[in-house]
Subunit: 224 residues, 4 copies
């Protein structure tokens, strides 16, 4: 079972097979872990059902976030143990006069309480980790992420965090365009919509990345 | 009826309303039209059912392409009449040794017949139009599109072409990050998967762009 | 007299004339002012001769900075009065583990005292101004400057600050590539080397920007 | 003797020493060679004095080009022998309607005869080399150069070609910002102005790159 089975029909999946999409990219030799936007503003300070969670932070995804965070933790432990880099692209607090198009599409996003910008404690950065404040969907846009990855000589990115259909997807597209091998652990990314989550995993799997459960990706990484 | 009704459930749509996503960006004063990848390789040389179409070009979307092309034509006519710019980001022929990650994920894409790269005659560029060969999903990645739009002093982009879930989506995310107002005519973009097409329209509508039928967007543009 | 006369020989200047370089770009309709790196780390807390100034901050340019700051002030006043935007790309404090190539080429740059990062009071930002922390030479690299300029619909950039041969030059090259009209007030940019300052003004004047005294640029702007 | 001795005064060189600039970056493990704009339009079809050369192509640098080409050849041979990549960023023919700011600053550049765009035979690409047509100073701007270098896992760039004060300088600044180690062989880059050539070498040496004669750089590369 892939996460999109039953949402993308068998016939549509056959269409992609007929067209020749979705072959594996595989893994390189120097992986880096991206943890995107895992801040209380997307998870809530505790696991809560979605419609409660949005009362704390309108950008919260609710309980699904915390299931993913468990898996992100496993990946962080794995990367720490191997001495591989962990990078934290994250949402920078907004300035009222710098909203641009974002303030028009999602005005609520401009008024998140300050504690919403804190990293979720369970996966928080350690001294020496690269922190990349960002104001746009892609972790590469208007940040020095590419420069850091070149300095680290990374060839493979494991992309986790949220939202699957927003910043994760946008970052994966750029990572692919830059010729990094991209792995997306399907249970270590989260979204406020289950359907959009699944379809974005499908899109990424067919075009840009290898999508698999955290356990399977961890096994692959252990062979490096 | 929005294109994603029945695919994104009412409850999930309510979730986005509760979070405050999807407000309109509106339109500026200097629109430009992007026609992305409308080449025979994505439409086929004639309208054909999908599983026949992929025999001609594996990247073909079949009949849905030609329905969208009818609407793109209407938009091109409108833009030509107003003297507004029309730009053509399009897939450049591949070199075997330059495939990178793309050649791994979608090997078939590396061997498209040469005529597949021709622009579909019905919407083909005229002398003086800006042509932007590209090798990556986003029309902005590794092209001079931003420079052209700044030179044209464009503030609004109408994004058409294909695929909705691939190059259209990737270009819309970058256009939004660059602070262009983005309009996506839902019936002037096309994709090989109906579900992915609809969910990508939903994602773009909630986060990055105003999504509406060509007729409605044309009406909006006429008020400029 | 141009600032490079006597440094670039008459014959070399004739060579550029013969090749057809250095025509004027002119000015557009919506100018924005960039004040690059005018922080105490580049000027010193007071005007001092160079070899004293570097004892306070190794990146200080000494007295020449303060002469330029007088002219930047005039430009800031002009822009404030007209309601035109003033943007502040500036050096962000360094993290020891994020030095990359910069820490190799200029190790002293990694250990500037904290007050060196403060904006020089005479030209400091006001609430509502766009602040752009940066870690690389160009004000466009890994910052959202392009997004801001598109949002502001700027078509012309007046580039001031320091150093002429470093961040000013790098930013001017990118601004030119992005198709902004670029004006460089020769007496509102500064550098630790007089010769390099003059030759970089020459290079920019021949290839990328219109270079003139502040008074002349102010006059040009008043005609908008 | 460095190329800028006698042009940048001893006192100014002492100023840079006092500030702590110009330490070596060194070399990594996977070098790539960039040959920038070595086309007949910058060298002339044969070695000619400058004021004759500009009659053939206004962008020609004359005899100095051919001296540099001799050294570029040595580097190409070295890289071919080691199986290291050689990439060719080069000027793409201009379209009259796409000139932007360049057409304003250097109108003559828009009308170069077609044969001017051919690669100089002595260093021309072989099948399998990466060709990167460009329309802006930096080899990185609006090209897929970064993607290629990530795919090749390059960590070090040897930058050759022309002009020292134009496309070479702009490319070196971007390469440095992206965290590549950069080597500039001072006698394998060329320019129409001797003074500007020397001062740009000085600027790059102090801030962005290791500058040395081809023979010395070759020796360094042989130790990899």
């Amino acid at each position: 079972m892939r996460p999109w089975d039953g949402i993308i029909s068998d016939e549509e999946q056959r269409a992609y097979r007929a067209a020749g999409f979705g072959r594996p990219s595989g893994v390189g030799k120097r992986p880096a872990l991206l943890i995107i936007d895992v801040q209380y503003r997307t998870a809530g300070t505790t696991p809560m059902p979605f419609f409660e969670a949005v009362k704390e932070f309108p950008t919260s995804c609710g309980e699904v976030a915390w299931k993913a965070i468990d898996n992100i933790r496993l990946l962080v432990d794995e990367f720490r143990q191997r001495g591989w880099p962990v990078l934290y692209p994250h949402v920078a607090p907004k300035n009222q006069h710098e909203g641009g198009r974002l303030a028009e599409k999602v005005p609520a996003i401009m008024n998140i309480a300050a504690n919403g910008y804190d990293f979720v404690r369970e996966i928080a950065p350690r001294p020496g980790d690269v922190l990349l404040p960002k104001k746009h969907p892609s972790a590469f846009f208007a940040t020095a992420l590419t420069s850091h990855l070149i300095d680290l000589q990374a060839d493979t990115l494991v992309v986790t965090g949220c939202s699957t259909s927003g910043c994760v997807r946008a970052s994966v597209v750029d990572a692919f365009a830059l010729n990094f091998k991209v792995l997306v652990p399907q249970d270590a990314v989260y979204d406020r919509s289950h359907v959009s989550h699944a379809v974005n995993l499908f899109d990424m799997s067919e075009k840009y990345a290898d999508v698999a459960p955290t356990a399977e990706i961890t096994e692959t990484l252990r062979k490096i």
